[in-house]
């Protein structure tokens, strides 16, 4: 009798497998296409990362090429452009976070104070719009406005700046990149904060009012603490992609004249790998970029779980 109980509790692995396959046969069938996709388009390129440690020659294939250890990383770290790339990547990213991260929070807080629902919804619809415009179109508009006789330059001239093409001035690249990024994403990114705001218990506001809080104090002591967990989670996710500056946009906007401030790791990877065919070196650069991102993600997550007790994992 007791033997039976034991076998019932711990069925042999093979039997359990068979039972699982019988019970969930169709679920496994449904997931097969996804697994095939992951293997071919996600995990196979991950295997391809080994060429960062090899001297990859297309004729020899990934496996046949010679191992070279960390040579490519050393080459890259000694490259005179390394510090320029590091500096540019961090600068663009830091400014994007510094101005781009709070912007949708502020928009959500302002929208939350609007009492006319129709006006609120109209503003929302309009500010979502740039998110649906393609980068090519957005950058084209930027380019047209930044020409020597374009709108922005004319505004600049009104304030006494000389007529010039703003896109060939290295000092103007960061503001153009950051401001256009805010323009395109502020509305869309505010959605999540608005959703979090609507989840705040109205009784808390009532209580605050009874305690004599004015509107500003209500925002400070009720609204902001209410959306703080959402802010933290989004902040962690944003920090996890600190080195992922939008290379598609940079590729569309930069010129040889602005490499000084606009060239970042991913655009360097693009030029080295796809234009100069230095596959191994550019893979090493890309891998370095990914690893730094992961370190930042883990660090911010750790910091956030320590301080605010909300984290991704």
């Amino acid at each position: 009798m007791s033997q039976n109980v034991v076998t019932y509790k711990r069925p042999p692995l093979l039997k359990a497998l068979k039972r699982d396959m019988q019970l969930h046969f169709w679920k496994y069938v449904l997931i097969i296409p996804i697994l095939v996709y992951l293997a071919l388009f996600c995990y196979k390129p991950m295997y391809g990362l080994v060429i960062a440690f090899k001297n990859y020659k297309p004729a020899r294939g990934i496996w046949g090429s010679k191992w070279v250890g960390f040579t490519w990383f050393e080459t890259f770290f000694k490259d005179p452009y390394f510090f320029r790339l590091l500096r540019n990547t961090f600068r663009l990213s830091a400014y994007s976070i510094l101005f781009g991260f709070p912007a949708p929070i502020i928009l959500a807080l302002l929208l939350n104070e609007v009492s006319n629902n129709k006006f609120k919804r109209t503003v929302q619809t309009i500010t979502y719009m740039p998110y649906f415009i393609s980068l090519v179109v957005a950058c084209s508009i930027i380019k047209i406005y930044c020409q020597a006789d374009g709108l922005f330059s004319q505004i600049g001239q009104f304030f006494g700046a000389p007529a010039q093409n703003l896109l060939i001035d290295p000092n103007k690249f960061t503001p153009i990149y950051v401001i256009s990024g805010i323009w395109q994403n502020i509305g869309w990114n505010s959605i999540i904060y608005l959703a979090a705001l609507s989840g705040i218990d109205q009784e808390q506001y009532e209580a605050a009012r009874i305690d004599g809080a004015n509107r500003f104090e209500q925002v400070l002591h009720v609204t902001i603490p209410g959306i703080l967990p959402t802010i933290m989670i989004l902040f962690i996710m944003r920090m996890g992609s600190i080195l992922n500056v939008g290379y598609e946009k940079i590729l569309l906007l930069y010129t040889d004249a602005t490499f000084e401030t606009a060239d970042v790791f991913s655009t360097y990877t693009y030029r080295m790998g796809l234009q100069s065919q230095k596959y191994s070196l550019s893979t090493a650069v890309g891998l370095f970029n990914t690893m730094v991102n992961i370190v930042f993600l883990l660090f911010t997550n750790w910091l956030s779980t320590k301080t605010t007790e909300s984290g991704l994992f």
């Binding site: 388009f41 104070e113 009492s115 006006f119 980068l135 508009i141 989670i233 893979t283 992961i294």
Partner: protein, 306 residues
């Protein structure tokens, strides 16, 4: 006043608290939001006006345009006749037509699997799926992979790598989790298998989510240009965004070289750029407001459970 009290925001500020400061804030807030709307809308309005504006005026008067000057639709008829713009449209429609069914079916399957419980390998498979959100091969190994799969210079190189987005799968999973278990259980008892359950029970119940997913995937394909620029070499295989990029960003004379009547292209050289922008942007801008009320759900889910 009595009518307004229903609104919680107004209630917060009523009676003693409707101070002058509060009123000033409301006015400033409204003005600021109106300014934001203007800054958002003006570039669109500019492009729309410029596309109808006489080319001569456009060249001599860059900068602000408030109204179409010398109204003409020449740039549009020009654009519609151009072989490269037409093939760009055709290609993007092929990509959308093939991609979207693949996207939706794969996302539905993946979401259903992630939402079900009890499978022995669920943990492993879920990890394999989620891991790709944080780590990937990167640009060069991905590129070499596409080459080695023989997809180079084919539209499949734009369709297959984007067959599924894990982020969208999580949105789909959450929608499926909201379907009551008793529905699927009763279907099981009636002898339905998971395939039937997915298409006959789950799919009709999560239609709003499917609509949002269609929008996300569709806009993603419609606006993409990078992959096409590295995988395709034939100009006549390029989707519309890449044609736009050649005209607007690279300033190449791609249109002249392919046009039968290059004088006519030159005549509208400036205005045709704007017409092309309008033609590629309007379809997307016409769709999103209708799905707006569902955005909140999708975005919320993805970010919080990612």
């Amino acid at each position: 006043m009595a009518k307004k009290v229903k609104d919680p925001v107004v209630m917060r500020g009523t009676k003693i608290k409707t101070s002058t400061g509060s009123k000033i804030f409301d006015v400033c807030n409204t003005l600021f939001l109106l300014a934001l709307c203007f800054v958002t809308l003006y570039p669109m309005w500019y492009v729309l006006c410029a596309s109808f504006t006489n080319n001569v005026y456009l060249v001599s008067h860059p900068g602000a345009v408030w109204w179409p000057v010398g109204f003409t639709t020449g740039s549009y008829s020009m654009a519609f006749e151009h072989p490269l713009i037409l093939s760009g449209y055709k290609n993007i429609l092929i990509i959308l037509g093939v991609s979207l069914p693949i996207n939706i079916i794969m996302t539905l399957f993946c979401g259903y699997f992630l939402a079900s419980k009890g499978m022995m390998f669920k943990g492993v498979i879920q990890f394999l799926i989620m891991f790709t959100m944080f780590f990937g091969g990167g640009m060069i190994p991905t590129y070499l992979n596409i080459r080695s799969l023989g997809l180079f210079d084919s539209l499949w190189a734009l369709i297959l790598p984007g067959a599924i987005s894990v982020y969208n799968c999580i949105i789909c999973r959450t929608a499926i989790q909201a379907v009551p278990d008793s529905l699927t259980e009763s279907a099981y008892l009636d002898g339905a298998n998971d395939l039937i359950i997915v298409f006959r029970i789950i799919l009709p119940l999560i239609m709003p989510t499917i609509a949002v997913l269609l929008l996300y995937y569709g806009v993603g394909h419609w606006n993409a240009w990078f992959n096409a620029s590295i995988y395709l070499t034939d100009n006549y295989k390029l989707p519309i965004q890449n044609i736009l990029r050649s005209i607007l960003i690279a300033n190449s004379n791609i249109l002249n070289s392919a046009a039968t009547d290059s004088d006519k292209v030159n005549e509208f050289a400036e205005a045709i750029k704007y017409a092309a922008i309008v033609l590629t942007t309007v379809p997307v801008l016409c769709i999103y407001p209708f799905l707006q009320k569902y955005f909140v759900k999708g975005v919320m889910v993805g970010a919080v459970k990612g």
